[in-house]
Symmetry: C2
Subunit: 632 residues, 2 copies
């Protein structure tokens, strides 16, 4: 780039904010070992323990304290689900060494329609990942330092928006998914959670249990059983948010060191194991907490503040303290890994959007990498949508969570089904085992999807169930429009255009140096040339005519009266009249403009060229050429 | 105008709001008799009694009740001033049958510098006329129906802004200054004021006077005398707002029926007489009001509402009533004539701004009449500034009034001084009488100007005293800039530009029908032609090359690599490189664009032409030609 050339203020501002452009040749990814791969790909999955267990307990505790007993069964079911999906995705990693995202797997094996459903579901889920993770992260911070609420109005929303914009900005600058940078918060979170859960488990075993008397909540007999089943399923559905992000490793196989697939599989197993342990551990302690700790997310008796479940568990083990200690460390690491999870979505959403755009389902500019080598359009779209969700739902996790997970499980189901088709087609040695594994995965994910859709429908899942088909319809119509554009732009089969010559119209408001510049230009064009003057004040006409006779180099001058004092309309009308007579004539309207270099000096002149260009925009075969004469 | 042509949404919205365009041939003014001339030109002057007497009393009553005695003397002084200025302006009408505004009289006789001082002073005053009149009108409405305040938040500001925008809108549509329409509120106001004042005077004569015991307010001896003098002068200065608008008739002489000057002079005498009678009458009753009516603009004891002086006088004669009656009629007529006064400024400000623009002191587009035959730019500027004043001063008349009148008297002084010079030059028969009359006028206006500037300085007059020179400096620098532009655009004396030929660069992102359209166009241009392709993805290059070989009609293809994936920078760099070698070459960059007709379809494509045009904006001798290919 010729940096010596004058650049606009906007351009310089852009450079200052985003940094110098990065050449395409610098595009590379560090190759990750499982140790560094874990931080890069697991923040989304691991961070979900910050809200999943709590979400289960919220459902159970609100229906009846008795229901809390079901919590163990639900936790076991979810861990089983984690194991099955993990095994299932081992197969995907094996089959798609170049990355097997749900959109690709579904498109390739089930056809484009299934592909765009998976794509729509995932895009919605990535938006929710940002909103949910950031809101949960802010909850964690507010649990750590509740006094923040006194100083910042509407603290949850304000801080959430701040973090979304911060992460978006970092990604616009081209933040790399760096294993070593991500390692600190991820391993810090894992370690502090192990300590907190370990101490919690030990303490629970030496404390009287907090489960109160059994209350059936008014339901008896068969009704009670049906009611209980629904509540249990709803709690299970709530807990399924723990599985969001588990597919991340399978998307990123090429990022691993050789042997890529082996390392990816190893990382996935490690991640799932840690997730299962954290999840089971938290569930165990939550039930064993003394009664006064049991009112999750209700006002803490000691001070008017909400505490997240992780905060309560940490407080149970180490006490609450606003000074440095295990309580603070745990909550800040929790916040950090949640913000990292949002950051993951800022890599995934634009990448998926670019795939969809490349295939013609979204506007093509979403597939263009900006000068910082990032999909800047996708990043900005995601930031706007995630911020909108935070504002609409006032940053309330309880309101956002029911929307979450449904997109994930729709994508899981399609992806696993696609894998079954893949194995049926390929039929390599031992294909039966792979097909059965993925078949079980697909079936279970489908069942979970139905459970989530059914039990959370009224709470908000309906919105996602409406949005996915709407997105698909949008994708489909964009694809159709691009197809129509391509056909219309095809060279073969179109009637040959025969230009019936060319006419230049040089606008002459007055006769000055800039106009002569325009005349110079007009003489570089072939065909006829006319000078056109729009007259508002008849009195100035003779002088203009005289000047033109002297300097107009024999070009004929057409005078157009302007009944309504507009400089634009008479030109439009004149052009229209000419085209009526000679429809295939090409017309160039030359606007000579004297341009000042300083913006405040430009306030003294009207931009007639721009107005004229906009007015002529819909007329075929008319080109506006803006010849500038520079003043100092 | 060819209405059959497609028009933009903006255009249609404009037509719906403002109505069809009005041809220049329809520009005419009705010729006014004195009877209809009075309503058109007197609203500004007459309506000022709504705040002038009150302003005097506010100053006096706030210093000491004793000072109230001075009110009679001040009223007499102001009536004397009205008479002298009226006589003085009779001379102006005689000398300038085509309209003798202060800007014209001062420019012609005292030179352009005095002219722009008068222009600046008047522009500022017209802005204040709008703000002050509308705020006083709203005060009158709120005195009539105080309960409005309970229903509209921030009632004074909200309703004031509403009226300013309403009047601005009416003027944008091209409201005519129609004598018969304006007659109703003006004569209604005069009549109701005569009734109210008549009844008030009769009642005052039969009621014990409300002037309380003499209190000197802490000042004794010489100090008391000096303090009293200052207070009296300040009250006098406050009362001078009654004279604003008195010059209106002299500006509008050509609007009268023949004999124009005679009729204008007759109208001016009538207006001044009515003004003097209303002013003296209100002053007399105000002093005679019972004590409990004497706390002007303070909370009325009966209900928590502010009453304007006119409201108190009307209530004194006819009692307060929210149902139809003399009290309501008077206040609503007062509000109406005040809004009319604001309307007058909406005619005067754009007209003066257009004169200044025509002379090169303001951007020229302020002198352009829009398609409704009005100076739309001036109207919008005035509306914005008047609204800003209302918001900044929270619609408070007490805060706005000290800024008012200083501009008027500055303009009066310059105009009358200009008249003296005029007579000294002309020396027609009996010139001595005219010169002496205007000399006295000029001297008195100058003295009043000093009094206003001195006594109201701290209250806000300083702001106007700072703004007038700032405006003048702005006018002067605009004039200078236009002068410099004209010199630079002069044809004689400039070196003859020698174009070293012409080069067309046709951008070829892909090869399609639209590009061939661009190629058609390129072949209408003389000189060399090159096709330019910016390559981001090397893989698509061979196919493009092959297509160009087939359809490119032998035009050579230049391939530019894009290190930073920008489509713009490589073109800029290429253009810069060519121009380095051949600085006087003319270059046309042809951008072929496939354009969809529906706006939502256009969302699918980037506007590269616009980006390129903005980027090339500062490069000399480069023209961007945007060839459009229309899709359906």
């Amino acid at each position: 780039m010729a940096e010596g050339q004058p650049r606009s203020v906007m351009h310089r501002l852009r450079r200052a904010l985003l940094g110098a452009p990065i050449p395409t040749s610098k595009a590379h990814h560090e190759r990750l070992s499982p140790l560094l791969g874990l931080p890069v790909f697991s923040s989304d999955a691991l961070s979900s323990v910050a809200y999943a267990t709590e979400a289960i307990l919220m459902v159970l505790i609100l229906s009846s304290q008795a229901a809390l007993k079901e919590q163990i069964a639900i936790s076991v079911a979810i861990v089983a689900l984690i194991i099955i999906i993990t095994i299932s995705y081992q197969e995907t990693i094996q089959a798609y060494p170049s990355g097997g995202g749900s959109y690709i797997v579904a498109s390739e094996n089930l056809g484009p329609k299934a592909g765009i459903v998976a794509g729509a579901a995932l895009l919605i889920d990535y938006i929710l990942t940002v909103s949910v993770s950031v809101a949960a992260g802010v909850d964690s911070i507010l649990s750590a330092v509740p006094s923040i609420k006194l100083h910042i109005p509407d603290a949850t929303v304000t801080i959430s928006l701040f973090f979304i914009l911060l992460v978006a900005y970092a990604n616009l600058r081209g933040l790399k998914e760096s294993g070593s940078v991500f390692a600190v918060p991820t391993y810090g979170f894992i370690l502090s959670m192990f300590v907190v859960i370990g101490v919690g488990v030990w303490k629970t075993m030496h404390t009287p249990a907090g489960v109160p008397h059994v209350e059936t909540g008014g339901l008896v007999g068969k009704e009670a059983t049906v009611g209980m089943l629904f509540i249990t399923l709803r709690a299970f559905a709530a807990g399924c948010t723990a599985l969001t992000g588990i597919e991340a490793v399978s998307n990123g196989v090429p990022a691993f060191k050789a042997p890529e697939q082996k390392n990816a599989q190893k990382t996935l197993i490690w991640m799932s194991s840690i997730l299962a342990v954290l999840f089971i551990g938290m569930g165990y302690i939550a039930l064993g907490l003394p009664t006064h700790y049991n009112d999750f997310r209700l006002v803490d008796s000691a001070s008017p503040r909400y505490l997240t479940l992780i905060a309560q568990i940490a407080a149970f083990g180490f006490g609450k303290s606003t000074s440095f200690g295990m309580f603070q460390v745990t909550l800040w690491f929790t916040a950090a890994i949640l913000i990292l999870a949002a950051n993951t979505a800022f890599a995934d959403f634009p990448r998926l959007a670019s795939l969809l755009a490349r295939d013609g389902y979204l506007p093509r500019y979403l597939s263009r990498q900006g000068d910082r080598l990032v999909f800047h359009n996708g990043i900005m779209v995601l930031a706007v949508l995630a911020c909108a969700l935070i504002v609409v739902f006032q940053g309330k996790l309880d309101a956002l969570l029911p929307l979450y997970a449904i997109g994930v499980f729709a994508a899981f189901t399609l992806s696993q089904t696609g894998m079954v088709v893949h194995w049926l087609r390929e039929r390599h040695r031992g294909w039966q085992k792979s097909a059965i594994t993925n078949g079980i995965g697909a079936f279970l994910c489908g069942v979970v999807l139905l459970i989530i859709g059914y039990t959370k429908f009224a709470e908000g899942a309906w919105l996602v169930m409406v949005l996915i088909p709407l997105f698909c319809a949008l994708f489909w119509s964009i694809k159709k429009r691009y197809g129509s554009m391509t056909r219309q732009l095809e060279i073969a089969g179109q009637p040959k255009f025969v230009a019936e010559g060319h006419l230049s119209l040089l606008l002459v408001p007055r006769v000055h140096r800039g106009i002569l510049n325009g005349l110079d230009y007009a003489q570089q064009l072939r065909g006829e040339c006319q000078a056109v003057h729009v007259t508002i004040n008849e009195k100035t006409l003779p002088e203009l005519q005289r000047m033109w006779d002297e300097f107009g180099r024999e070009v004929p001058l057409v005078v157009l009266p302007s009944q309504y004092r507009s400089l634009i309309s008479p030109v439009l009308d004149y052009v229209d009249r000419i085209r009526e007579d000679r429809p295939n004539l090409m017309i160039t309207v030359i606007v000579s403009e004297a341009v000042s270099t300083k913006w405040y000096q430009r306030l003294l002149t009207e931009n007639v060229a721009l107005q004229l260009k906009n007015s002529l925009a819909r007329r075929k075969g008319v080109v506006v050429a803006n010849v500038r004469y520079f003043l100092n």
